[in-house]
Amino acid sequence: MTTVQPIAERASVQLAAGAEAAAPPPSAGRKVALLRVLGPGHVWALGVGIVLVGEFMGWNFAVGKGGAVAALAACWLAGILYTCVAMIDSEITSTVAAAGGQYAQAKHIIGPLAAFNVGLYLVMAYTMLEVSNAIVAGDLIEAFAQSLGLEGAIDKRAFMVLTVVALAFLNYRGVLATLTLNLVITAAAFAAIVVLFVATQPWAPGTVLKHEALLGGLPYGALGILAAMHFGLWFYLGIEGTTQAAEEVRSPARALPLGTMTGMMTLLIAATLTWYVCSGLMPWEYLGQAVTPLYDAARLTGSRWLELFLFLGTLFATVASANGCINDASRAWFAMGRDRYMPVWFGAVHPTYRTPYRAVVFFVPIAILFAVSTPLDQTITFSILSGLLGYTLMALSIVLFRRKWPLGSIQRGYVHPLHPLPAALLLVLCVVTYLAVFLGYGTQLLAMMAFYIAASAWFVLHRYKYVRRGEQFTMPWPKPRGY
């Protein structure tokens, strides 16, 4: 309970700021101190809660792109990428402790156009993740109905729409209760993975898990390892969300890196367990296209109670994640409206529920449209691409940050070691992932770039004239070096 309360408080402070933003000038009203109550454990829970759904669906498309062994290599390579992300983000967020996360950081370090793009990355990554969750929820319920002998009795699209609309309604009304519930069901989902792992008797290879007969080597050769990196990101996408709590942790210098790094370790372990169980139960060709791999793994054990447990675990993980995604996407959109990067109409707060209700409702038709008519791998790819663009920007952003405010010029909550090695490594791994996406999904990569280029042109040529210049910088820092 205590874990989620600050999230709601943060949202309410952001919204209060937004309410003031509707009546200019807003900057004076934003100096609201948040309660510093979170420790490393809370930071850990925040990160793992956001990301855990990645173990239940989506990661296995890496198996389809390169085989099971390639997916494991991609899982660990992506782990290195996200370790760099966590290190860099811990330094920036513990220093730029402004509401809005990476969007606010880009405003202070790079400039308005970059911030506009980062805001869109967040909105698109979260919205497409929400869509993916809705697709999985629909498919899962259909599969479960089939396993109960109700084949053809339900239309999964109805459940996809219901998931999006019901969660949007909850977010419209306020999210404290649902965020509280989120943590409980995330814990249940994590327990489901561990129980499944134990139930498959990993200490007795060949009894339940049959890797020797099922693994299938590298069907695409070494190129498959590169290609698998595309969906390898799905194991961890969103872990950088841990640092969003920077304003509410008691000791950012200790809690942020510790909570984030232990979160990364947890996910690395959970990802490896998930891979081990699934690759030992399913032929790689099936695993590579499955919508609900962990649920399928439970079915293959032949245990009805395990099947039910993983059905609930998968459903919980997807619903919790979709709920968090609506919450985060709407707040990013709201923040952009508040700063006039988007119409100020979106910066409004509901008079009764104190939620960014217009931003919540705005994305419902988009989410439904994609959910009912788009394959899961495509929506996941859109989400991954938006995240990937953000990580690329992060690698460049830390270099600018250190150049504009060298060590010692401002107080940093945490200084990540070995700079610029993590930034360089992150950039290299981002380039590798662009290549991985290009293999098989090149048109989508270009479509995504077309979207961001067109949106950027719109911002520069039209939208920026509505933005108040000086108010984009709110940190109490000295002038950046070179300006």
Partner: protein, 131 residues
């Protein structure tokens, strides 16, 4: 620090805001949804079809066949999944074009951002706009 007064943005009409909001929806629809609708994006795959497939002809050993069957598949139903492979052949020209678009996007973004950032810094720290 005498300079121009802080930039005062114009007030956008309600109609203008609606147009801007709809424009974003249209942009998402055109750039992201239409390529999917017309099957232009994703799934760079090819499928090999086998007449009268058996687990053997599909390259599945006894363990694999057993797991497929537990999942409710017959060789006929599984053939489409097993026969589908990604096609990783590509031409370097398209790689170079995609790379140029991504690099160009970041270069232009950083240059424009820096230009806007200078206005922000000037107005915030000096109380004047260089724009």
């Amino acid at each position: 620090m005498a300079g121009r007064p802080p930039y005062e943005p114009p007030i956008q009409s309600v109609l203008g805001q609606i147009v801007d909001a709809v424009l974003m929806l249209v942009l998402v629809f055109i750039t992201l949804y239409l390529p999917l609708l017309f099957k232009l994006a994703g799934g760079g795959t090819s499928t090999t079809e086998l007449p009268n497939p058996t687990w053997d002809s599909l390259g599945q050993n006894a363990t694999m066949a057993g797991q497929w069957e537990k999942l409710g598949f017959t060789p006929e139903k599984a053939a489409g999944i097993i026969g589908t492979r990604f096609d990783y052949s590509f031409n370097w020209g398209l790689v170079a074009l995609t790379a140029a678009i991504i690099v160009g996007y970041f270069i232009v973004m950083f240059r424009y951002s820096d230009r806007q950032y200078r206005e922000v810094i000037a107005e915030h720290f000096d109380g004047s706009s260089k724009g």
